[in-house]
């Protein structure tokens, strides 16, 4: 019985055949599917008497599902699991790249004291320039990317030791 995460929320799914269709339990709530047909173009699902074509793609633990222009990127997790550390947050002083790109300039060095909001780096991707700012007042403990380096989304690029007053903000 798989569980998936989307936007920090976990969905635990149970699938039970029921007549021509299925009974799907999502965290206790029930969705009745009248019928389902896998088709070359997508999954055809009949809900409340009406057929819908939903597009699905899987890559490893990631399952994409889309319909009517809205695409959802679900990540498979252990059932009842908690969200893994991902997403472009800063939290505990680990500053992560919010996008894949190239480091245009590094504006700080290890040991510097920085204020919250101070620019640490300039990133560029797809002709866009993004300032990486300090999420807290603190001291630069490590810098993991130099000017010209290519970084991935969510890669830790700077580590700060945050002053206590901001660290849980």
């Amino acid at each position: 019985m798989p569980a998936y995460q989307y936007n920090a929320r976990t969905y635990n799914l149970t699938l039970i055949p029921a007549g021509e269709g299925y009974r799907i339990e999502v965290d206790g709530r029930v969705i009745e599917v009248d019928a389902v047909e896998p088709r070359p173009e997508g999954l055809r699902i009949r809900l409340d008497g009406r057929w819908h074509t939903v597009y699905v793609s899987r890559e490893g633990k990631v399952q994409w599902v889309s319909h009517q222009g809205r695409a959802f990127r679900f990540e498979q997790v252990a059932a009842r699991g908690r969200r893994s550390r991902a997403g472009g947050g800063s939290g505990d002083g680990q500053v992560r790249s919010p996008m894949p790109g190239q480091v245009r300039a590094v504006h700080t060095t290890v040991g510097d004291s920085v204020d919250m909001g101070q620019t640490l780096m300039l990133l560029e991707a797809m002709k866009m320039e993004i300032r990486i700012q300090a999420p807290c007042k603190g001291v630069v403990e490590a810098i993991h990317a130099e000017a010209g380096a290519v970084v991935e989304k969510d890669q830790v690029i700077v580590v700060l030791s945050c002053g206590e007053e901001e660290s849980d903000g």
């Binding site: 389902v36 896998p38 173009e41 939903v54 597009y55 699905v56 899987r58 890559e59 599902v65 996008m99």
Partner: protein
């Protein structure tokens, strides 16, 4: 007519130009960077030449390598597309000096319009209204004095640039120094030229541009307007024609001004004259002229029935443009949405990855200009444009309905896209009423987030998704044998 044309560009616009070449019976030569070796435009070309590593400065901006590729393949002309070298006067001149035809305006016209200060002087002399501004000495102190004289808010922008790069609105004097520094930095990276100009900023302005076409025999017409006010941070996202703001009188006056602007610089080939329009006073001001094909050219093609990419080639080959201004008209209404690989719920940051699925809409009145297919990659090296979804219908209401249908039929997996954001703009009452100005998105939809929870249908599909073969996850061209490039083995 040419026998072979080299396309000095990539992505959807390279695909667009290859199609135009092939329809006209012309062979198309692609040039590509290492990141694009498997790209769709390379696969469609008759010949393809590797010109360098992924960074544009080392490949698509390498004028010498591109001209060399044209020489080696026997191409007689070079089409620059948009971006990269398209508005680089030195490149246009170098192409001509190499004995090849540059498919675009004369280098002198590019130079005149590419320098914003110079452009404003020429345009003002031709009697076209311009915004109050300053284009003199390029020193921070002189620019700051000018800004104070004009009065805030002012716009600081790159003298050489376009497309929002190197451009800043400055609302008060305290922001001026940092804005000028940032604008110079962006201008230097984007254009290799960090000169700035400053001008009056018109709030609630609409961006309305006119397509012009000038043949080599002195005949200049306009092909009506494109309303491009729906922008996020100077980046156009939805364009349409006709503009809901214009009436026949204003259209005629702006069209005449656009033609005058083109004539002022001896323009030849396709170009676009951008204006801002004050919706309160219905005054219009020259903004800049883009001396190349625009991203949004398809909407003009749909309402006028003319093929602009083909006319660029035909004009460059010396063909006269046969229609008079009074022969041309707009039929119906066209809309374009730019589908970007970016996450609108996460500050519109770029999203890169392999396209597990790229399913585009089909149907009457729907056109898709895309540079990618399922299996292709969206990398961080280039523009995040995945595809342009373009529709044509009998009126604006029908066109919006058709666009909503078309975006609903689009499915992109592997990168996050702005489609849900585009749908919300299309359904917004301000957009329906034609009231969106160039800052409308940034003002009204700044805190946009999608209706986030997946509905029952999505969760049902998630639960049932193991029913589907995982086509997306497999390589699309799965090898038939152990080594797909070794038929010798597989044939034994």
């Amino acid at each position: 007519m040419f026998h072979k044309i080299l396309i000095a560009n990539r992505g959807e616009i390279a695909v667009r130009i290859i199609r135009a070449c092939h329809e006209l019976g012309i062979q198309a030569v692609a040039v590509y960077s290492e990141a694009d070796a498997d790209a769709r435009f390379v696969r469609m070309a008759d010949e393809a030449v590797l010109i360098g590593p992924p960074p544009p400065a080392e490949s698509y901006l390498q004028a010498d390598a591109i001209i060399q590729a044209a020489r080696e393949t026997g191409a007689e002309a070079i089409h620059p597309g948009y971006g990269f070298l398209a508005e680089n006067a030195a490149f246009a001149q170098a192409v001509q000096d190499a004995g090849l035809t540059f498919i675009g305006p004369p280098s002198t016209a590019i130079a005149a319009m590419g320098d914003k200060a110079e452009a404003r002087r020429r345009i003002e002399a031709a009697g076209v209204p311009i915004t109050p501004g300053y284009q003199g000495e390029d020193e921070d102190r002189a620019l700051a004095d000018a800004a104070r004289r004009i009065g805030f808010p002012v716009l600081v922008k790159a003298a050489a640039g376009g497309g929002g790069k190197g451009m800043r609105v400055v609302w008060e004097e305290s922001e001026l120094t940092e804005a000028m520094a940032a604008a110079r930095r962006e201008a230097r990276h984007a254009f290799g030229d960090d000169r700035l100009i400053v001008e009056k900023f018109v709030p609630r302005a609409h961006h309305v541009e006119f397509q012009i076409l000038a043949d080599g025999h002195g005949h200049v017409v306009h092909l009506f307007e494109r309303e491009c006010s729906v922008q996020r941070r100077y980046q156009k996202i939805i364009e349409e024609t006709p503009s809901p703001l214009l009436d026949p009188d204003l259209r005629a006056r702006m069209g005449a001004a656009a033609v005058a602007a083109a004539q002022a610089v001896g323009y030849v080939n396709a170009g676009t004259v951008e204006f801002i329009v004050d919706p309160a006073t219905r005054e219009f001001y020259f903004l800049e002229m883009n001396t190349r094909l625009q991203v949004e050219h398809p909407i003009t093609e749909l309402v006028t029935g003319l093929d602009l990419a083909q006319w660029q080639i035909r004009i460059a080959a010396g063909e006269p443009f046969p229609y008079r201004q009074e022969d041309l008209q707009q039929q119906g209404h066209a809309l374009e949405c730019r589908v970007y690989a970016e996450d609108p719920a996460n500050g519109f940051l770029p999203s890169t990855g392999d396209l597990l699925l790229a399913r585009f809409p089909q149907g009457p009145g729907i056109r898709v200009d895309a540079g990618v297919e399922t299996g292709d990659a969206i990398t961080h090296h280039y523009d995040p444009l995945i595809a342009k979804i373009i529709v044509h219908a009998e009126d604006r209401t029908a066109a919006i309905r058709r666009m909503i249908y078309a975006l609903g039929q689009t499915a992109i997996h592997g990168v996050i896209t702005n489609i849900p954001f585009l749908l919300d703009v299309l359904r917004h009452e301000d957009f329906s009423a034609g009231r969106a100005d160039t800052k409308w998105v940034d003002r009204v939809l700044a805190d946009w987030s999608s209706e986030d929870d997946p509905e029952d249908l999505i969760l049902a599909a998630l639960a049932l998704s193991d029913l589907m073969p995982t086509a997306g996850a497999q390589p699309v061209a799965a090898p038939a044998g152990p080594d797909p490039y070794s038929p010798w083995q597989s044939l034994r």
